[in-house]
């Protein structure tokens, strides 16, 4: 009896293995990304546009491939766990959890950049805080281990300070709002959700990464699992094609309002996207290329995570990146010169 069971299991396994190799397309592709809660099947940034405007679905037209999209409230750690548990094939999430997952042995490749998000610094209204220099010795709230933590360090460095010059308090956004209102912290560094305090008159914005552009903004990647990429290179290419089309669509000024409206499906208010992106070139912000500039930013963030003991192993960014898919898509769509090739911000290691 057990022998037969084993034989049957073996036969099934081999059939599945052969079947998988023979299959050119996966049955379903599971996309995931950071969301804004409420369990919405809609997100933000590049992936949400590629989903909302059907750019990825168009690439798979005529194939039986099904696409599923899932956006997580718990962002980084939850997405890393979902990839490890083989519940996601492609995921859009922040660079720090990208790095933390990769250093933890998660087999991912960087397929595309998902775009840049504006980082805001907000201080209590009754304090004389006009720049990061004025934060010296003060209590600053930030969500540790996120790209905002890194962005805070960058901004401090630009002002001749280090993380040691401030008292860092690890708080999530909702608690940051309460702590700032209560006066338990002096300032917070976060995303546009902080701006509700400006609107309520509790705090004032003393910093926005809009002035500095991509180098000081939050960034991250759309990552594909290595097993998926190896098994389905054609599907991976089609996904990249869809992402490039979405980025090109986003880059056209006429589509700005529609893009904001697609993002509001995530549950975030329209105003948040106006705060984030008004006055910012969406073409530059949503440059999908995995180029020297993006890799140098990853290098920088990896150095930061190592200095702060967030990761135990080093990462070879050049091997991690998979720029060829987006580059192929750019060539195929005649967009090689649409985005200029950005040089590395700092000399790459």
């Amino acid at each position: 009896m057990t022998l037969w069971k084993h034989l049957a299991a073996f036969a099934l396994a081999t059939a599945a293995a052969f079947g998988a190799h023979a299959q050119a397309q996966p049955e379903t592709i599971r996309f995931g990304g950071f969301g804004q809660g409420f369990g919405q099947p809609h997100g933000v940034a590049l992936l949400a546009i590629a989903q909302g405007k059907g750019f990825i679905a168009d690439e798979f037209k005529g194939t039986p491939v099904k696409l599923s999209f899932e956006y997580f409230t718990g962002t980084g750690p939850a997405i890393n766990e979902a990839i490890a548990n083989n519940r996601l094939d492609v995921a859009q999430y922040g660079s720090l959890p990208n790095i933390i997952g990769k250093a933890g042995g998660l087999p991912t490749r960087i397929l595309a950049s998902y775009g840049y998000t504006t980082v805001f610094g907000l201080a209590r209204k009754d304090l004389e805080v006009n720049s990061f220099k004025d934060l010296k010795g003060r209590k600053v709230a930030v969500a540790k281990g996120t790209v905002l933590h890194w962005a805070l360090l960058k901004a401090l460095q630009d002002n001749g300070l280090t993380l040691r010059d401030i008292q860092l308090v690890d708080l999530k956004t909702a608690d940051q709002l309460a702590a700032l209102s209560a006066g338990s912290v002096d300032a917070a560094v976060g995303s546009s959700s902080l701006l509700t305090l400006r609107d309520k008159g509790v705090g004032k914005v003393f910093y926005s990464s809009k002035d500095q552009g991509a180098k000081a903004s939050g960034f991250g990647g759309i990552l594909v699992s290595e097993t998926f990429e190896k098994q389905y290179p054609d599907a991976t290419q089609r996904i990249a094609n869809g992402l490039v089309k979405a980025a090109h669509w986003l880059g056209q000024e006429a589509n700005r309002d529609e893009a904001y409206r697609i993002w509001t499906l995530s549950g975030m208010p329209y105003q948040a996207f106006k705060d984030d992106y008004d006055g910012v070139s969406l073409k530059d912000a949503f440059n999908p290329r995995v180029d020297a500039f993006l890799l140098s930013q990853y290098d920088d963030a990896i150095d930061f995570t190592k200095d702060n003991k967030l990761i135990r192993n080093d990462i070879d960014v050049a091997k991690w990146a998979a720029p060829q898919y987006v580059e192929n898509a750019l060539r195929a769509q005649g967009l090689q010169t649409y985005w200029t090739n950005r040089a590395a911000l700092v000399a790459r290691r």
């Binding site: 540790k144 308090v169 608690d175």
Partner: protein, 281 residues
């Protein structure tokens, strides 16, 4: 049937069949035996865990092998982070117990002895207790800020709830015969409290305290998840954020063992108090 008889015959040769069938029952002293029995399940879980790791049933990033967790434990213990975090958390639990315990006991006694308190206070208290701690936190931050006071108060509230409920229940469940005896003896209120009420409700109060202790650990993790940069709960949250789930498992084991030991101490204390309490147990 024949086999059974055969078995019975084999065992029946001894005057104490069970002892003969299980010689280790008598070979080991009772406390050691109890310890071994208590450890059997954890040992089986570790064995299953090791087996799952060897066979690769779960990704190593989600469930690291026992050996890696052990290494992480040693590393954290040697670095002093584990002890430091543990002491800070223990201090928070201790302060929470010291604040929430007596407060809960006093409230519980009041609710137990006074019908008026019951009708005026109990509905409100029950409504407040029904709201999960997490819901209070934004308001508590507004009042207490994000420092140590907030953490102690959240833990104290978690301890208080079961203590209040079980104390008042324990008092209300005192057998009528005792109360009548007290009335016949015309005990003064103080004597009645110390000689009848407290000793009679002691077991229920203690089960409330023990439940409160386990709630304290849950609350500890919740408060250390926010606005803390140290403590065992923070270590676990941080470990998850860093995708180093070995740290999380070390935290689970440490909290589990600590909770078990504290529960044991409370039970010892209860036994000691029941012996001391006059006319009870």
């Amino acid at each position: 049937m024949a086999a059974l008889e055969h078995l019975a015959g084999g065992v029946g040769a001894s005057p104490l069949p069970r002892a003969a069938a299980w010689p280790w029952r008598t070979a080991l002293p009772a406390p050691l035996r109890r310890l071994l029995l208590a450890l059997a399940l954890p040992a089986a879980i570790v064995a299953l865990w090791q087996w799952a790791a060897v066979r690769g049933w779960v990704p190593p990033q989600i469930l690291p092998a026992p050996a890696l967790v052990w290494d992480t434990f040693l590393e954290l213990a040697r670095g002093g982070e584990l002890l430091e975090g543990f002491l800070i958390s223990l201090q928070r639990i201790g302060s929470g117990l010291a604040l929430g315990g007596p407060l809960g006991l006093a409230l519980g006694i009041w609710l137990g002895v006074s019908a008026r308190a019951r009708s005026h206070l109990e509905p409100t208290l029950r409504a407040l207790f029904a709201v999960p701690t997490l819901g209070w936190i934004p308001i508590l931050i507004l009042i207490f800020g994000i420092d140590e006071a907030l953490k102690v108060i959240v833990i104290a509230k978690a301890v208080m709830v079961p203590v209040v409920l079980s104390t008042s229940r324990g008092i209300r469940n005192i057998p009528l015969a005792y109360l009548e005896a007290a009335r016949v003896l015309r005990l003064r209120p103080w004597t009645r409290l110390t000689r009848l009420t407290l000793p009679a409700c002691l077991p229920t109060v203690f089960s409330g305290f023990r439940l409160g202790l386990s709630h304290a650990f849950i609350a500890l993790i919740v408060v250390e998840m926010l606005a803390a940069t140290e403590g065992i709960g923070y270590m676990m949250v941080w470990g998850r954020k860093l995708f180093q789930l070995d740290i999380v498992i070390v935290g689970i084991v440490v909290v589990g063992v600590a909770g078990c030991v504290l529960d044991l101490l409370l039970r010892r204390l209860e036994r000691g108090l029941s012996r001391w309490a006059p006319g009870h147990g």
